[in-house]
Amino acid sequence: MTNKVSRRVFGAGALATGLIGTSSLPSFAQGDPKRGGTLVATWGGGEPQACYVPAGGGSSPTFSSSKLFERLGNRRMDGVFEGELAESWKPAADFQSYTVKLRKGVKFHDGKDMTSADVVFSIDEIWKKYAAASALTDYVGVEAPDAETVVVKFSKPVPEFFFSSLLCGSVNYIVPKHVYAGSDPITNPANNAPIATGPWKFKEWVRGSHFEYVKNEAYWRPGFPYMDRLIIRYVRDPAGRAAAMEAGEIQIGVFNPVAPPDIKRLVATGKFVATPKGYEEGVWSTSFEVNMRNPIFAKREVRQAMFHAIDRSMIAKTVYYGYARPGTGPVFSPNKEFFTPDTYKTVYDPKKAAALLDAAGYPKKGDGKRFTLNLLAAGWFTENGKIGAIVKQGLEDVGVGINLTVPDRPTSIKRIYSDYDFDVAISNQANPSEPVPSTTQYYTSDGIKKGVPFRNASGFHTPEVDALVEKIKVETDPAKRKAMVVEFQKITTLEASNLPLLELESITVASVKVQNHSNDPNYLAASWYDIWLAS
């Protein structure tokens, strides 16, 4: 799982084309794969704003686009990085450039070859500007010495774990240059009918209902995909998804498709399996952030008090039925590389919260309130509204008046990330193991990007954290780097601008007939090339 291991794997050329991924087959696989058929999938959220959003746009477009597009690399269940559209990559001695060897014989859905020109275009025009803009701050440029090689250059040393993670970034796709060149990628109509290299080809999008994808006959992994069609269906509420799954209309639902009580009920029928696997590289959290633009939050004690007033265990128990655990810091506990439990703990303690607020100069006034805040619970998950009710109660108990709103997805995104129209907000984050930039951008000044969803909306930044993150970025020694990330966790938990209330245990529910699923550490964003349906 270290950088050395991954380099050795690629150096040995152990990854013969057709065998990729076989080492990570899950325990559900049985018998010879059956070919053909249609798989209907869903996820625990709503329809995306576009099939593919170059800047990411949250999990919904990531789910829909990741079946069509592919990345240069992929991280396996066992933590090893492997090539997807790349065959291998290695750093130069000074870690300021990386040479990436591309896979030969990959074609886009329209029949054109994928070459280094597409990779150069994708990195320059999509990654640098949108998908990985905050990760590529030290990026200098990319060159293509020949059609199968690109050299990515940086102005500073880049850790190998960071670079490998970059190639596997959930929306760091290779897009076709001939489709996107000369257009604004954000508004390119191809975003709603993508042309890519993946196992599935876009067929149609029936808005309000489903995407229909068909098998890519010319896929570069010979023999894949097994199935003829993949339908991604959107059902607005969890009860509807549970009913559709029971009726056999939907075979697999990722990311908590049904309400927790229904998980147990469905599994008890013997027709479904539920698994928490497949979320190791995309651990979800429910976050609580304060808007630093409100002068009340200038004092750190006030921010800490907010967290001390919230009963996270109760949320885990009542809202998530135990499929969640209280979060401790910005790096989540399943992150083997970087997590530390040794951070400032904002545990549930209303007395301490009240004392902190008193000390900060906000005593209770005549009406029993210290001040009143607007609490925005992002309505894209039904749970957030319920958490909003519990948070409201917790804060009101320590004398903080709360106006709760639970807007729908577009309004929530606009109010939190464009208008900064909230005092405190309940949102969600999903972070991969590599903390830069996914995790760090919630705390740095360059993460404050008005209008870009799932960035630093709280507005928190200090020169100390900015400098530390800069150092984490360029440290190529894994041990020293980890020490810095631990330091980062200590500071951010103490500052309490934006912390996870809970780390969510995401669940995939699938019919027992579905084979080869949950075999990728970010299964929601995997291409599902090897999935099949037993009869």
Binding site: D237, P238, A239, A242, A259, P261, D262, R265, M314, T318, V319, A377, G379, T382, G385, K386, G388, A389, I390, K392, Q393, E396, I402, N403, L404, T405, V406, P407, D408, T411
Partner: protein, 279 residues
């Protein structure tokens, strides 16, 4: 004496009498809610998903978060009735004003008023309400305004029709010949005569408004700071397979209230319609 005759005619419709009694009970409960349930009804007070009767402290059980359903029903009656009454008042105010002006003046004023009313009528009501609430934000006031905005057209049309038939009657012409102003005639002379059918319609708008609010809350666009029946149904929707009572209890409350309001509307029609006086 006349007032008693009115009550007598109203009471002759047994359904209306039952409806009125039930609504009075609901109104009483709504008014006295803070005495019986002084705590914030949205407070989490017990185990989540307790069935009705399972715990004597929570007669109607608790919802998915452990909030007392009885307290939410009782407090919800306030929100629900207030929304119904105020939305109906808003709709009646807009509808009567526009209808009266259109019917009295006729000509191009009438044309403009009725074409704009048709414009409102062509948009599906619920979608219109949802759109307004999404744009203005989910607060109680905005929901009332939204329901008022979509519900005024039938009232305007009814008022206009009454005004059309009354504006050239002898008593109106007498007023005019005595030099009475337009405003005086509209408000003082025609309106009292045009009002009975409008009142019947307004009472039905109250019932419609409650249903609209329930639908809005059910879809998660209600005001999350206020306990309302529709919101309770919406919250319980996820658990309909396991804990159906969370949806059923407020659903029954909505059904009974709306039914009773419709019965009252029938009774008012009987009482106010002179043709039915001797039935």
């Amino acid at each position: 004496m006349q007032r008693f005759a009115f009550l007598g005619r109203f009471a002759r419709n047994r359904g209306a009498l039952v409806g009125a009694v039930v609504i009075l009970v609901v109104a009483f409960v709504a008014v006295t809610a803070p005495f019986f349930f002084p705590r914030d009804p949205l407070r989490i007070v017990g185990q989540p998903e307790l069935w009705p009767g399972e715990d004597p402290d929570f007669l109607l059980g608790t919802d998915s978060l452990g909030r007392d359903i009885l307290a939410m029903i009782v407090h919800g009656a306030r929100a629900t009735l207030l929304i119904g009454l105020f939305a109906s008042a808003v709709a009646t105010l807009i509808g009567v004003t526009i209808g009266a002006i259109a019917g009295y003046f006729g000509g191009w004023t009438d044309e403009i008023a009725m074409r704009s009313a048709e414009l409102f009528q062509t948009i599906p009501n619920l979608i219109f309400v949802l759109t307004i609430v999404v744009i203005l934000g989910s607060t109680l006031t905005n929901i009332v305004i939204a329901i008022g905005i979509v519900s005024w057209t039938p009232i305007a049309r009814m008022t206009r029709a009454e005004f059309l038939s009354l504006r050239d009657r002898e008593f109106v012409q007498a007023c005019r010949s005595m030099g009475m102003g337009n405003a005086g005639i509209i408000v003082g002379e025609i309106l009292p005569n045009a009002l009975p059918p409008v009142i019947v319609l307004s009472s039905l708008v109250v019932a419609g408004a409650i249903l609209f609010e329930s639908a809005v809350s059910f879809l998660g666009l209600g005001d999350p700071n206020v306990a309302s029946w529709g919101r309770l149904v919406g919250d319980g929707r996820q658990l309909i397979r396991s804990s159906w009572y969370i949806c059923a209890i407020p659903g029954v409350a909505i059904m009974i209230t709306v039914l009773c309001l419709n019965l009252i509307g029938d009774g008012l029609n009987d009482a106010l319609n002179p043709k039915l006086r001797d039935r």
